[in-house]
Assembly symmetry: C2
Homo-oligomer: 408 residues x 2
């Protein structure tokens, strides 16, 4: 006799809307009479192997709605990237608890975990339905028009640059804003949506999809500064040279310091202001510009409370709901994907896990201008509806100049 | 015969609501029939000495309202700190243009400029009414309950820490957020308003009103991390040792680097991530904690578009309006001050310029806890109404734990 038990977990970096997907799973599951329990694993796959579950069936729908509107992962998350042995442990725990449906909300690492667990269950002849629910501010999952979490982070970045541009216009100088994104430049590119007038910043955008050449960068900044008397620059934390070495580590070596690396040998890019500071130092030293300021958006861009896209909220909720529907009415495991069906509307489909797992999408060429330092109108059209309603706007004085009296 | 000419200018760092004050001056002035022109100086006092004026009388009230809702200084700003000779130049330009009323929106440096210009006019027997309109995110003007611009920046900081706390709870570690404020800790202290549950961060708050001792800091972080398994820390950029030397420059010296100084010898604190990075390095090295992340809020906290307190907007508009009313119905120069008259309501008064000019308010002792690393309830009561309506809120799951099966 089926247990009617469901398990849901959240993995990877939190987003502003990841709890919408969680609550989508919980509330939609309750509509199915044979569902007896909806468990949540604390801190993702680590919570599963440690059997740290909470019973979400004992949550009020009222509190669930409040949690849905709260950013970051309410169940907690993990940076663990399970190998085969780890996934086998996950499967053993699921079997021991008679879990029949496993929903994992996460990015491409998480989808790969779901793929392996699904295969383990199949090999063991255990009837487990496994669904990956997409989430990442990087927007780097293949097969989806975009990923839940990205629109709200993009909105933060666009609003941040709209404000930084106004600040820079009031007190002119060079401003460098460093945005998250190791391989995909979507979030950095979102800075372009903060621009309104032709002379507004960001004037220059540097993406990991293009090779970063320091001399070219300095020439770009010089030209912009000479034209506008100021320069606002958006830089992806993942910019790298032709060999793929991150600029953060290259510049650090020049000044004799070291960057932090994780267990996989990846340079730590977030949670440090080093890249912005190093780029600012180059601009001051090589271009002789006095007022050069750098900000690293860091964790603010993914966890700021009170800057969310209503479109993103709605879609994040729907991918959770659809995951349950695909699991209950369908006959296979998979990854929920968002398809754009109109300007603007979406539908959802279930992709085979192998089509998503472990793969990385980067910005398509059609989204990047020929100069390599701006986005195209195609990108603006792509992103604008995702930012949602009520985007703040910036206006300028248009008053007439007054004739000089003392020095006419 | 009087010229009926008014001049308004904006100085110092931009805020989210400084254009409300500008528009308050312009629209209120239009109600007085003898006012013939309202000029705006571009880029503060620099624009005055260069005679760079725009005629705001030729602005539509519709566009003025849109500009009022736009952050940063619509007229442009300046970091110039005028000396006597500079102020004499300002006065000569005002006289040449037959300006009868001079309104300068700015912080305590700006109020000192207004004071000197007022004295020059008096000495010359020229009938000039000079009013200083308060503005600063630092909240460091004496004589006011608080200053326009501070509440919106405080709201950003509170929301940022509310989000950073949720992120840190999902992926535990140490998080250091560095907040603006060279001498006054009000803005850093606002981080406490992002806290909801007793175990929420910020767990530790370091203010420039207290001497910063690195060993004590490390001991505090260690104790918090042992208690909660994580630690969220708010640090003012202005923290300093017992001799008054900024920690930013002390730590930089230890690693053999230099910090930037301005013409006044002040260490550059904003626009660099150095302090956060140096504190994180100390925590990693001395406490052996692996996941340590630092963000420097930088310019985001004063120029982010779309995070504003409606109370701040209203009051910033009113100080502009009241400035004109004090000028037209009163008989003396001065600085507009906000007085709290209820919980919550305010009124305005005109202080003598000498009571405000060049003075710096810091956080009162009653606002800082005995530990020196937290705020008091008195501060929470002081700040909460200023943050305005619609503050985003954070909610938690309260679900019951599930019994373990494999390792009970």
């Amino acid at each position: 006799m089926p247990s009617g038990k469901i398990l849901v977990a959240q993995g990877g970096g939190p987003t502003a809307v990841i709890n919408q997907s969680l609550v989508g799973v919980v509330l939609e599951s309750r509509r199915f009479q044979h569902v007896t329990r909806v468990y949540g694993a604390l801190h993702g796959v680590r919570g599963i192997v440690n059997e740290e579950f909470v019973d979400l069936t004992q949550e009020t729908s009222h509190n669930l709605e409040l949690v849905a509107a709260t950013p970051s992962s309410a169940l907690g998350s993990t940076r663990d990237k399970p190998d085969i042995a780890y996934c086998q442990q996950i499967f053993e725990v699921l079997r021991a608890h008679e879990i029949e449906h496993f929903f994992y909300i996460g990015g491409n690492d998480s989808s790969d975990t779901v793929r392996i667990v699904s295969e383990e269950a199949h090999k063991a002849g255990y009837p487990l339905r496994c669904i990956h629910i997409p989430k990442t501010i990087d927007n780097d999952l293949v097969g989806s028009d975009h990923t839940p979490g990205f629109p709200s982070a993009a909105r933060f970045v666009a609003q941040a640059f709209a404000g930084a541009n106004l600040d820079n216009a009031a007190l002119p100088g060079v401003y460098v804003g460093v945005v998250m994104g190791r391989h995909a430049g979507f979030l950095t590119a979102a800075s372009a949506l903060g621009k309104k007038f032709p002379d507004d910043g960001p004037h220059l955008i540097y993406l990991p999809e293009r090779v970063f050449v320091l001399d070219k960068f300095l020439a770009d900044v010089k030209a912009t500064y000479e034209k506008y008397g100021r320069c606002v620059i958006a830089v992806s934390e993942g910019i790298h040279d032709a060999s793929g070495e991150p600029i953060a580590s290259l510049l650090a070596k020049q000044v004799g310091s070291e960057v932090e690396r994780d267990a996989h040998g990846n340079v730590q890019l977030s949670g440090t202001g080093a890249l912005a500071d190093l780029l600012c130092d180059e601009i001051k030293a090589k271009l002789g510009i006095k007022r050069v300021r750098g900000d690293t958006f860091g964790y603010l861009q993914r966890s700021f409370i009170g800057c969310v896209s209503d479109v993103d909220q709605r879609e994040a909720r729907e991918v959770g709901e659809k995951a349950v529907q695909f699991a209950m009415w369908g006959d296979r495991d998979g990854s929920v994907a968002i398809k754009r069906t109109g300007f603007y509307s979406v539908d959802y489909e279930l992709l085979p896990l192998t089509e998503v797992a472990g793969k990385t999408r980067t910005m398509e060429d059609e989204f990047i201008s020929a100069s390599g330092t701006d986005v195209t109108d195609a990108f603006r059209l792509y992103l604008r509806p995702l930012l949602g309603s009520g985007m703040p706007d910036a206006f300028r004085l248009r008053a007439a100049k007054v004739a000089k009296v003392l020095k006419p």
